[in-house]
């Protein structure tokens, strides 16, 4: 349970980090918060020859607002999201999701970018990025590119990043003031990955109709899954005509859950429908009360 030997470098700038990754040609591991990489190193499931620690790169930290977006530096710690006043106002869905990531002690070091890049299929933050329509900015010595979160994930722990690329920015588009946070998960213990989960947001426009909606499942397939069938069914619907059970029945058709030693696929589908309907019903009720 001790890591295999490796070299360690801690660049101070994005340029330096990108050069190091290009030089390593796939032999490097990027160390963000370390709350997943460190276990992998300790278990020798990961044996990079160089660890590139990006904790000293100031440009990768912090939260900023620009051009109709909230920009989260990937090295923003999860604990900082919970205490950030502007995020509570502008991006409450992200704050709610982060509260469910790991434990107090791991959120103190774990980062938003680390979780989003890792792409654990049952994790909260990748699904949040997918649901809210986030854009992931990627840098390498070859240039910069923007990847929509919906196109970022290829499978469990697999994403579109090349070995020399580094995520430098995660932008969440603004959602109108007063939008409703949707979040629900079932996990065996607090802090565990979810067996089943759903995250998203909706806003209500004129005539009490749903004007915008973004939803994603987690723990329900090899990647976070955008709940497109449910989104299509709900968009433009008047709130008082929505049948949560019927929408849940449709929503589950987008999922591809599997059996594992925690739960069967059948369990995940059953519970998925249940929590989806309940989440929707409560959101509609909170809207009526408001």
């Amino acid at each position: 349970m001790k890591a295999a030997p490796f070299d360690y470098v801690a660049p101070a700038t994005i340029e330096e980090a990108c050069s190091l990754l290009a030089e390593a040609g796939g032999g490097a591991a990027v160390l963000a918060g370390g709350q997943t990489l460190m276990p992998l190193l300790n278990l020798r499931m990961s044996q990079p020859f160089v660890v590139v620690d990006i904790n000293k790169i100031a440009e990768l930290k912090g939260v900023a607002r620009a051009d109709g977006c909230t920009r989260i530096g990937p090295m923003t710690r999860q604990c900082e999201v919970i205490t950030d006043g502007t995020l509570a106002r502008d991006l409450p869905v992200l704050v709610e999701a982060v509260r469910h990531v790991g434990h107090h002690q791991t959120r103190n070091r774990g980062t938003v970018g680390g979780s989003i890049v890792l792409g654990e299929p049952a994790a909260e933050l990748p699904a949040t990025a997918v649901a809210l329509g986030a854009t992931i900015k990627v840098r390498s010595i070859r240039g910069t590119r923007l990847v929509p979160a919906t196109e970022f994930y290829l499978g469990p722990y697999m994403n579109v990043l090349d070995v020399d690329e580094l995520v430098t920015d995660i932008s969440f588009p603004d959602w109108p003031k007063g939008h409703i946070t949707l979040f629900r998960e079932v996990a065996q213990r607090p802090g565990d990955f979810a067996l089943v989960g759903m995250v998203g947001a909706l806003c209500v426009g004129g005539g009490g109709k749903i004007a915008r909606i973004g939803l994603a499942w987690f723990g329900m397939g090899p990647t976070p899954i955008r709940a497109q069938a449910a989104e299509q069914m709900l968009l433009g619907q008047a709130l008082d005509t929505i049948d949560p059970e019927a929408v849940a029945e449709r929503a589950i058709t987008d999922t591809a859950p599997f059996d594992d030693h925690h739960a069967s696929a059948e369990y995940r589908r059953t519970v998925g429908k249940r929590i989806f309907a309940r989440m929707l019903r409560e959101a509609l009720k909170s809207r009526e009360a408001a």
């Binding site: 001790k2 070299d7 360690y8 607090p190």
Partner: protein, 161 residues
């Protein structure tokens, strides 16, 4: 297999050493600096026994490289009691509430509670109990630990970092 010279403050004392990149902060604190109150349980961030306070925050010392702790302030369970042996308030409530049996998980639990109750944070009962979810205890059944945490709710215990 790079080696690095690092310096940090541990329980108020400067500690400098040369360390291999792959050494975790937990192993460094135990083997190099001699603070064996840092208990190494699972080594993958699940059990919480190795929790220490780094720059005021409770973190897993098995999930941080020693080389990353260059320049930081670390507090381990050895640094909590007063020099005359008077227990830190967190240690005292743990004792009063019989919140330990074998003691393996205890230093981690104590450091989490100490971090949360320091610097005028005055945590709620809910916050303290939620933070305990980051610790695994195999013998108390948790009830004593929960009682201790509840007693600490709303208290400001001064500087633990």
């Amino acid at each position: 297999m790079s080696k690095h010279h690092i310096e940090m403050t541990i329980n108020g004392r400067r500690h400098a050493s040369d360390v291999e990149a792959r050494v975790s902060l937990a192993d460094f604190l135990r083997d190099d600096a001699g603070y064996t109150g840092v208990h190494v349980g699972c080594e993958h961030g699940v059990c919480g026994a190795c929790t220490v306070i780094v720059d005021g925050k409770a973190v897993r010392s098995c999930l941080m490289l020693a080389v990353q702790a260059e320049g930081v302030e670390v507090k381990t369970v050895e640094g909590l009691a007063a020099p005359d042996g008077t227990l830190h308030p967190v240690q005292q409530v743990m004792l009063d509430e019989h919140a330990l049996q074998c003691g393996f998980c205890t230093p981690g639990v104590v450091m989490t509670l100490a971090a949360l109750t320091s610097d005028e944070k005055k945590p709620s009962e809910k916050q303290l109990l939620a933070a305990l979810s980051g610790h695994v205890c195999r013998c108390t059944g948790y009830q004593g630990i929960r009682r201790a945490a509840k007693k600490l709710a709303g208290l400001d215990l001064g500087d633990a970092s």
